[in-house]
């Protein structure tokens, strides 16, 4: 495709513009941003894609702002053999006009024109390539996906020296192969559900056959079994007459034998009867003999018992005498023992009397000591009870007396010591003291405070001062003492009252001591007894003494008494021993006598029983003999024994004959024959029943059309097998085709990557410098790495500028390769913003180099970026206001440059 011209009227910011493009080479369309050189690219897209009736947003946006006019665009282009002028107006007054100038002229309008253009493009334009070689402004300049372009693939095949690819799009062939493949196979190459279902259905059908065949085989087995059973029944019936005949013959034999058995049994019974009778007769004879023997024996035993009785009677008489003597001995010994005991008791009593007399003396003395002590105690207690003083009172009295003395001393000290020298006799009275001093005599007087020394007729001398208080204290102390003494029952006025108090206190203490002493004495006298007990003991001892003294003379002494007692005890012990011996002898004699008496009683019992039995036996014997004599009995027994022997002999003869017949064998044979007949009949019945059952089963199963079922199952299985085989073959074919085709496609891609890569490298060296090489993905034809100066860098790791330059180079390389085949223009909308000027000149060279073989359209608002493109035609777009002057003719420009 070559775009030759694009004209715009009222299209976005462009009032009117006509842009001519160089058919081959680079056309640079310059325009400020507000003009929107992208408008050119958008107009191309809208013309090719949007019907004039379209209401798309981009279509509406093409209307100039604020003006009620319809945007219009016209494009003149060549594609394939077609030369086309194509115009559209949208929004207002929509219209489409198509003029095809060649190969055969066509002129269409409206929808027909739109559809015809689509048809022409479909026929001539490699849409993926066209899209890939376009770059839109505002999008990052990424590498184009060139892998989908058939045109490019063809061009690459050709450049790689491969066969030119067919007209047929091998991509769509592969898709069709894949579609067929997926009928039976999953994308990963496994059998898909449909194929697995067929496999399962085939397996299931085989299983159905097996089931149906088995059912049929069972039915046939039952039929065969039925036939066999019926044959066996028939064979059994055929054998039956022989069996019956044998059975009947043996039954007759058995009957004869059984009759003989009956005879033997009868004879046996006869012999048995005779033998029983003989046994009875023999028993009767034996009984008679036994009875006679019993009488004789009884008489002998009676005689012997009588002898025993007599002998025992003798011994009893002897023993009775011995017992009587022993009895008397015992009586004597008992009496002697009693006497000895009495003598001993008397001796003991005498000794006791002596001891009692001593006791009385001692007890009496103790009794008197008790009485004396009690009298003492009573007297003292009487005193104490009347005594008003005690230790405490006494101590307080003493204290009071001391205080009186002290008070008095103090009183005295508080008085005055007066030395009175009588110049003439002078009486002096102080208190009670009244004395007379001779002239020249000196008296020393102590005059206490409060007291007066009276010199009668002369003066009353008193001492004044503190002595008054001391005197009062003294009087208080004296009063206190007087009170205490009064409490002690003394007259305080008595001058010796204090001394008497002291005497009384001593007396009281003494009395207390004597009470305690008397109590001790009483305790000692009583010891462990009370006075009453002592009195009691005394009374008893005196009674015993009195009693004893009533009879005999008391012994001379206690020792003598004790000696008498010991002698009496010895005598008593001897008497006891003798009494024991006599008692033992007496008891032994009595025992012997008892034993003999018992034996005698036993003998007597035996004698009496024997007599009774003997008597009965004698009577029985007599009665029996009266009935039949002993001889008669014996004869009868012999006769019957002989008869029994004869009967047994007859039985034995017949039995021997029977044993010769071997009845057991005859019976077994007969039983066996009968059993054989019966069993055969039973067997036939069982088999007939079994056959009947089988017939039922056969009829039941026959309802189901077993053979048909097998046939149906086999048919179904055959069909399933065929279907599966067909599917497997189809799957294998599609898989093989797919594998081989894909492999070759991949190999081819790898091969034709080479020319593409060479072209990319040729252009890249212009940009990056000599020695630059790249690796290219054979599927997408995108650069994967760039190597420069020996450094290999993945595409993604390159700088934004380098990536952008490689993206442009890739498009240019593709366009260059496909140019001979028609191809598509490379449209670059304001790219290379990231590239520095050095690189830009390289890109310019690359653009120029590519432009030599293809159409390159560069839309830019920065013309300087592309200044280095050598052979470029430059077109300037002006804003709407300046539209008239903005028309340019790239072709002319290009020619100018050329």
């Amino acid at each position: 495709m070559r775009i030759l011209r694009v004209s715009l009227r009222d299209f976005r910011g462009v009032g009117a513009a006509d842009v001519q493009f160089a058919r081959d080479g680079v056309t640079i369309v310059e325009g400020p941003n507000e003009v929107g050189k992208s408008t050119i690219a958008d107009a191309i897209d809208m013309l090719l894609a949007d019907p004039d009736s379209s209401g798309k947003a981009r279509v509406k946006a093409a209307q100039p702002v604020g003006r009620d006019v319809g945007p219009w665009a016209e494009m003149q282009f060549e594609t394939g053999d077609y030369r086309v002028t194509y115009a559209k107006r949208w929004v207002k007054g929509p219209a489409t006009e198509l003029r095809v100038e060649g190969p055969s002229p066509e002129q269409l309008t409206g929808r027909a024109a739109h559809d015809r253009v689509l048809e022409i493009l479909e026929e001539t334009l490699d849409a993926p390539l066209f899209a890939a070689l376009r770059h839109e402004q505002g999008m990052p300049l990424a590498q184009a996906d060139l892998g989908a372009s058939a045109t490019l693939a063809r061009a690459l095949d050709s450049a790689a020296g491969l066969n030119a690819a067919s007209d047929d799009d091998d991509g769509s062939l592969l898709e069709r192969i894949d579609a067929v493949r997926l009928e039976w196979t999953t994308p990963t190459g496994s059998p898909n559900r449909a194929r697995l279902d067929l496999r399962e259905a085939a397996a299931a059908a085989e299983h159905d056959i097996a089931v149906a065949r088995e059912a049929l085989a069972r039915q046939e087995g039952r039929i065969e079994e039925h036939r066999r059973i019926m044959r066996e029944i028939a064979e059994s019936e055929a054998r039956d007459p022989d069996l019956v005949q044998a059975r009947d013959r043996l039954a007759a034999d058995l009957l004869a034998v059984e009759q003989r058995e009956h005879r033997v049994a009868a004879l046996d019974r006869d012999a048995g009867g005779a033998e029983a009778r003989a046994r009875e007769a023999a028993q009767r004879r034996a009984a008679r003999e036994a009875l006679a023997r019993a009488v004789a024996d009884g008489e002998q035993r009676a005689a012997a018992a009588a002898e025993d009785a007599a002998r025992l009677d003798g011994r009893i008489a002897d023993s009775t005498r011995s017992a009587t003597a022993a009895d008397e001995d015992l009586s004597r010994a008992m009496r002697a023992m009693r006497d000895a005991e009495e003598a001993h008791d008397a001796a003991a009593a005498a000794a006791q009397a002596v001891r009692d007399a001593f006791d009385v003396e001692l007890l009496d003395e103790r009794r008197q000591q008790v009485v004396a002590a009690e009298e003492e105690i009573a007297a003292a207690e009487e005193f104490l009870a009347g005594c008003a003083i005690d230790a405490d009172l006494m101590e307080r009295i003493e204290q009071a007396a001391l205080e009186v003395a002290v008070a008095r001393e103090r009183t005295r000290a508080s008085g005055a010591r007066l030395a009175i020298e009588a110049e003439s006799p002078q009486r002096i009275v102080q208190g009670d003291e009244d004395r007379l001093l001779a002239a020249g005599e000196e008296a020393l007087v102590h005059l206490p405070v409060g007291e007066a020394l009276v010199l009668p007729g002369v003066a009353r001398i008193r001492v004044e001062g503190d002595g008054v208080a001391a005197r009062a204290d003294q009087q208080a102390a004296e009063q206190h003492l007087a009170d205490l003494l009064a409490r002690a029952g003394l007259d305080p006025a008595a001058t010796d009252a204090l001394d008497r108090a002291r005497v009384l206190e001593r007396e009281r203490l003494d009395r207390q001591r004597r009470v305690e002493a008397a109590r001790d004495a009483r305790g000692r006298a009583l010891r462990d007894l009370t006075p009453e007990e002592i009195d009691d003991k005394l009374a008893r001892a005196r009674t015993r003494i009195a009693a004893h003294h009533a009879g005999e003379e008391p012994p001379e002494s206690l020792d003598a008494a004790n000696a008498s007692v010991a002698a009496a005890a010895s005598a008593r012990d001897a008497a006891r021993t003798a009494e024991h011996a006599a008692r033992a002898a007496h008891d032994a004699a009595a025992a012997v006598l008892r034993d003999l008496a018992a034996r005698r009683a036993g003998v007597q019992g035996g004698i009496e029983a024997e007599a009774t039995r003997l008597d009965a036996d004698r009577h029985a014997l007599a009665a029996a003999r009266a009935e039949a004599g002993d001889d008669e009995i014996a004869r009868e027994a012999e006769d019957l024994a002989a008869a029994a022997q004869a009967a047994r002999a007859r039985h034995a003869d017949e039995l021997a004959a029977l044993e010769r017949d071997d009845p057991e064998a005859v019976r077994q044979l007969a039983d066996n024959a009968r059993e054989a007949v019966d069993r055969a009949a039973r067997d036939r019945t069982d088999r007939a029943l079994e056959a009947e059952r089988l017939l039922g089963e056969i009829g039941e199963a026959g309802e189901h059309g077993l053979a048909d079922r097998v046939a149906r199952a086999e048919d179904a299985a055959a069909h399933a097998r065929d279907e599966l085989a067909r599917a497997e073959r189809q799957a294998a074919a599609a898989e093989l085709l797919h594998d081989v085709m894909t492999r070759h496609r991949d190999e081819a891609r790898r091969a034709y990557v080479a020319p593409f890569r060479a072209e990319v490298e040729r252009l890249a060296r212009l940009v990056f410098g000599p020695g630059t090489s790249v690796e290219v993905d054979h599927d997408t034809l995108q650069v994967t790495t760039r190597t420069h100066d020996g450094v290999t860098v993945p595409y993604e790791a390159l700088s934004g500028g380098a990536r952008e330059q490689l993206a442009v180079i890739g498009r240019l390389a593709a366009a260059t390769l496909v140019s001979a085949d028609g191809g598509a223009p490379v449209i670059i909308d304001d790219a290379l913003g990231y590239s520095d000027s050095a690189r830009l000149s390289g890109v310019g060279a690359a653009l120029a180099a590519a432009g030599a073989r293809s159409q390159v359209i560069v839309l830019t608002c920065a013309p300087a970026r592309y200044g280095s493109v050598g052979s470029a035609a430059v077109v300037r777009l002006e804003p709407a206001g300046a539209a008239a002057g903005g028309m340019a003719d790239a072709r002319d420009a290009a020619e100018d440059v050329a």
Binding site: N163, V180, H226, I698, G705, R712, D715, A732, H744, R745
Partner: protein, 375 residues
């Protein structure tokens, strides 16, 4: 005296190579054949009909088959004698004794259960040799004839079933019918005609027109000679006269063709087009020759088209030797270029080789052919 001799109806028979729809037709037509026989017996004024064994394909056929057979048997206007054969022996599972059949047997139809002579019409007796088991282990015909004196007056027919010794490859089979014994009975006058069943091809035995197989009234397989008939037999003092009457419409056909090019395929196509009564035609192909890929694809198309119309179209594996040869012209014809062409060449090489992928490669080429044509 005239009667109708038939055998080997094989009612209920199924054929694996038939589709379900064709199978149903196959079964129906066998029942219809019985009605045809009834009509022939009436039209030809036959005194009776004797059907000599294998009237049912098995004792274990579907009860529906039995019911429809009874319905068809009800069409007969003359006495009919049914002889149990090796396929339908009179054993415990016999269809003839099953209540579904025995209780509804139409008047005039009788199953031969032993060899007692049956007076089927005035002066006519039939002695049967029915099979009671699938392996009788003896010559049942000989057993039926044993001690049989010539009838005092009239005609006697022996109805028997089984292979005859002169035609059987298995000479040791104790159940074979000894033709010598039959001849002896005919010679002695014990019987006047021996009506046989078992062989599906019609024909006389041992060059004696009085000993005959009528063949199956409806063909059952490819290896049958002259099936689809019943026999109308006249027995008179001058001897026996037999007329064949066509009954069955089914045809089992073998077509052998050598295919070496598109013309041969077109000829085969025409030949298949010419097959009459296609819905009852079972065709087996024996193909030889050598075809290119495109021709092979064409052949496949032709065969697929006819398979849809014929009752059955199969290729005999044993008798076919058709090679598909791949040459450059075939690959050129695909119109492939570039790597697609390379891939096609590789697959063609695989198809030409002897490797395990040969079959798959052939199929792949055919598929490629179809896909490129479809584009």
């Amino acid at each position: 005296m005239r009667f109708l001799h038939t055998a080997d109806w094989h009612l209920g028979m199924t054929r694996r190579f038939l589709s379900a729809e064709a199978q149903a037709r196959f079964v129906d037509d066998r029942i219809d054949a019985v009605r045809d026989i009834a009509r022939i017996a009436a039209d030809e004024d036959c005194a009776f009909v004797v059907a000599c064994g294998d009237l049912f394909d098995s004792n274990h056929v579907d009860r529906q088959v039995a019911a429809r057979a009874l319905d068809a048997l009800g069409q007969f206007t003359v006495p009919v004698l049914l002889l149990p054969g090796n396929h339908d022996p009179l054993d415990a599972g016999s269809i003839y004794t099953s209540p579904a059949f025995a209780d509804r047997l139409p008047h005039g139809v009788r199953v031969i259960t032993d060899s007692t002579p049956i007076a089927v019409a005035d002066g006519v007796e039939v002695v049967g040799a029915p099979w009671h088991t699938r392996r009788p282990g003896r010559d049942l015909a000989a057993a039926a004839l044993e001690g049989l004196a010539p009838p005092r007056d009239g005609v006697r027919v022996l109805a028997a079933h089984g292979a005859v010794d002169v035609l059987s490859p298995d000479a040791d089979d104790p159940a074979l019918i000894r033709v010598e014994g039959l001849r002896h009975a005919l010679f002695a006058g014990a019987v006047s005609y021996v009506a046989l069943g078992d062989r599906h091809s019609a024909g006389e035995v041992g060059d004696d027109p009085r000993i005959r197989y009528p063949g199956s009234p409806v063909a059952t397989d490819h290896d049958e000679a002259d099936p689809g008939k019943v026999l109308v037999v006249d027995v008179g003092p001058q001897g026996v006269e037999v007329h064949e009457h066509g009954v069955g419409r089914w045809a089992f056909t073998r077509i052998a063709a050598r295919l070496d090019g598109i013309d041969d395929i077109d000829r085969l196509d025409a030949e298949l087009h010419a097959v009459p009564d296609k819905s009852r035609a079972v065709v087996r192909l024996a193909l030889t020759g050598s075809l290119g890929v495109a021709e092979d694809a064409r052949l496949q198309q032709v065969l697929d088209d006819h398979a849809d119309v014929l009752a059955s179209l199969t290729r005999s594996e044993g008798r076919s030797d058709l090679a598909v040869v791949v040459d450059d012209g075939d690959i050129d014809a695909l119109g492939l270029q570039g790597h697609a062409r390379d891939a096609a060449d590789e697959i063609a090489a695989l198809a030409a080789g002897e490797g395990p992928d040969q079959q798959a490669a052939h199929d792949a080429l055919r598929l490629l052919h179809r896909l490129t044509r479809a584009s």
